[in-house]
Symmetry: C2
Subunit: 199 residues, 2 copies
């Protein structure tokens, strides 16, 4: 045919579509193959297992989200706290667009998977922890920069960054459960005002 890596990419895209909109356990390899227009034999030529596919999908998903959200929000041109506000705004717009397309609030792809597999798939659990740690570092660095410039006083940047990340995930979960993007619109902006102080 034309392209050798096209099949692999189609499988990754299909897995992303289906697993994000449903769940890891609900979406079978056969469904991923059907949606990708690929036979099951080809699937196992490119990926040794469903688990390995999901790991590859997560890495690609992280890069995409980093480009679409992280790299657009955490820029030096903005004051530190404004970066957090832009991040929440971009995340809201992302969910809004998905909701218009699919009719569902899908929430955070990493939070979804973390909730599902953390207790019984150590490999995927650890990969998701890595991904969360990268987002955590983005936020923590921003808070430390604000700390240094005197914008904040004596906050625990590490704990506050974790708290903001947790709040983000919680808001996404509530919006997903209510299938309502207004939840994000109303609650998420408060993320940047969360503070955890030393002692």
């Amino acid at each position: 045919m034309e392209n050798t890596c096209d099949t692999r990419q189609r499988i990754l895209d299909s897995a992303r579509d289906l697993i994000y909109a449903n769940s890891y356990a609900e979406v079978g390899v056969a469904a991923i193959c059907d949606h990708a227009g690929v036979k099951k034999g080809s699937f196992y030529h490119f990926f040794p297992s469903k688990q390995e596919l999901v790991l590859a999908m997560l890495d690609a998903f992280y890069l995409d989200m980093k480009e679409r959200l992280g790299d657009k929000a955490f820029i030096d041109e903005l004051p530190p706290l404004a970066r957090l506000e832009r991040f929440t705004q971009l995340a809201y717009e992302f969910q809004l667009q998905l909701h218009q397309t699919t009719g569902m609030v899908l929430g955070c792809p990493f939070g979804n998977l973390a909730n599902e597999v953390s207790t019984h798939d150590e490999v995927i659990r650890a990969r998701l922890e890595q991904i969360f740690k990268k987002f955590h570092t983005l936020i923590r660095n921003t808070l430390e920069e604000a700390n240094d410039s005197g914008t904040l006083n004596h906050i625990n940047a590490d704990a506050t960054a974790q708290a903001m990340l947790a709040y983000f995930e919680g808001v996404m979960l509530m919006a997903k459960n209510q299938n309502n993007t207004d939840v994000i619109k109303q609650l998420l902006p408060a993320m940047s005002s969360i503070r955890i102080h030393n002692n």
Copy 2:
């Protein structure tokens, strides 16, 4: 044998144990029956479907959590904000005990299920939304009481209660993903200091 309703209760307990520790999709009816010491035919004598079992399990789980956490924390003897602090403390101790028993941080049973099924099981999704609404009302009433007594000024009690609930769920998710109760210990107390103001 001895007790007619014992079987039904054993099935409910088994489902609670297994689904809470894993997930809805991962735990099959056969596994629930094995763990309950019951044959599959008996299962379908008491429950018409796996979905109906989960609905019954959720109702029982809610009542249990309300007794163990809600009724112990939201009491008139405590000042409003102290109730929230007691709630977070009791939730932490609950997770700590489960972690010692199972070796895993299991998070919030309702959040876990909500994340898994909200996009593809409307019945369970709606039941979970009801349960969240009850917890939301508990928190909102507490905040309004604090508002009336002048402890707080001009906060949006409804939105703040939702934000606290979201934060609670997010903290539980992060602790589950890191399999570390210290996350709860460090982050959850900040729940009661979250504020969303009008306008």
